[in-house]
Structure formats: structure tokens, C-alpha cells
Symmetry: C2
Subunit: 163 residues, 2 copies
Amino acid sequence: MLTRLEKTLYRLQAQHACFAWAFEQIAGRPGIVFELGLGLGRTYNHMRRHLPDRRILAFDRKVASYPDCTPDEKDIVLGEIADTLPEAARQYRGQVILAHTDIGSFDREQNRRLSEMMSANLLPALAPGALVMSDLPLSIPQTEPLPLPQGARPDSYYLYRRP
Amino acid sequence: MLTRLEKTLYRLQAQHACFAWAFEQIAGRPGIVFELGLGLGRTYNHMRRHLPDRRILAFDRKVASYPDCTPDEKDIVLGEIADTLPEAARQYRGQVILAHTDIGSFDREQNRRLSEMMSANLLPALAPGALVMSDLPLSIPQTEPLPLPQGARPDSYYLYRRP
């Protein structure tokens, strides 16, 4: 059984490996990015650096990110993601080329609900060829699960593509 | 320049590598452990698992750790570490075989003060051969800096030994 240090370490390793792979995959394809769960802003900061020309919309119920990891106000969607995602998926219909979500916790029941909510609401936003990176397993209609790239341990993260 | 994701990832990689090395080094040597900064309890959980027979005293100003990463009440030293460490270093004089501290932030001036405080107060607690693992560089009298083990990037963590 993994320790908490190991769980977090392996999740971050997987994020890093999946981002490197995803940045290559979406290069040259138009589209915006959804960061579903801004948190401290670590992954937002990483995407901002590697995708300097993309619009990245960050969703969270409040802004608690480091100052240098905080998006412009116009790129923050405040509120419960269960409320804001369905509306944003309509507003940005078919425009999202990469969606990243890291909102799981150690509460299994809450994770199940969040996974259902993401799975039920994300699809309309996804462009053809869009990638979804998630810390929780998702079941998004019309998307296919992808194997993780090298450097990410099995089940440490989840990748999907809308064909 | 590293992104925030990379900084955190490399710090956790270094922690993991340094712990693996330190657990081997202190095997068979008596002594207790100081965890200076309990935080979420991730590294406490890792040490607890790997050092099942050691007493681990965890210091922090409040308990904010996951329930399964929280020490017994008798092993928590509550208060500002600047206040509690000098007293604990007297109480456990020469008894600490491993001290771990991960209390740095992105506030350089605060980091400098914390580093000075640790450096000035830890020595009396350290047993001969004791190891100190720190996220901030320290200058503890009578200790020597050690190279990081394989798997830890240079300057991602700091290791010291009292000869």
C-alpha cells in the first residue's frame, strides 16, 4: 500500500508526463483549455508556461492560488463546478482542445459524484481530437480511454480523447 | 525556470529519495524522530510506515493533517516551532536520530528567518550520527552537509549529518 507521500508524488509525476505528451498532441490544433479545479494553481502555472498563446479558463469555487499562478479575472469561472461547467460547455461548445481536472480527494463518495458530474457535462465543450486529463476515472460519452505515457504509473491518472 | 508543478514534483521526488536513503542509514541506531512541520501529514505518514517502532514527534502550530496521517496526541507538539523547538531540543537532548523539516514557502524573507531559527535551535537535540533533512538550506553548527542520493535533483532538498 502506498503512503500519502507516494500517492501525491506519483500523481504529480503522472501529471507532468501526461502534460508533456498532451502539449505535443494538441500542437497546431486550435482550441482553448479548461482547467477544472484551480486549487493552488500549480498545474495552471505549468500549462500557462507551455501554452502561452492559448486561452485557459480556470474553474473553482474560490481563488486560492499563488499570486503568480492566478489567471486574469476574465479567465476565472467562479462557482461550484457542478453549476458552472454545464453552462460553460454550452458557451464554449466544441472549442476545448484540452481539459484538465484534478479535483479528487480522499473522500470516495465525493469522488464518485464528481466523476459522474464531469462525465455527464464535459462532452459538449470538447472539440474533435480533444484530450481530457483527469485524476479520477471518467466515463464521458463518445470519448475513448488512452494509455498513459511513459513516466506515469498505471492508474495514477486518466487520459481520454474525443475522436 | 521551473514551473510550480515542477518545483513541487521535484521536492517530493527528493523527499522520497532522501527518506529511502535515511531509513537505511539510521537502521539499527537508537533514537527518536522530529517532524518539524506536520502540514497535511504526508511525510509523517511515510515515516510512520517505514519506522514503525520509532517515536515520531510532530511539530506544528495547528493540526491540519488527514485523519490517517495524524499522530497520537502525546506525539504532537503544538505551537510556533520557533517557541517549541528550543524547549524540545532541551527535553530530548541528544536523542534525535532523524529530523525532517519541510516548512519553506514562496516567501523568501520568511524562509530565511525559518532557516536561521532551525539552524540555531536544532543541534542540542541531535544524537551522534543524526541526519537532518530539510527543504531549506540550513547552517547547523557541528553538522556537515551531505550530497543528495540518486533520484533527488541538486538543491531540491538538503541533507546534513552530525558526526
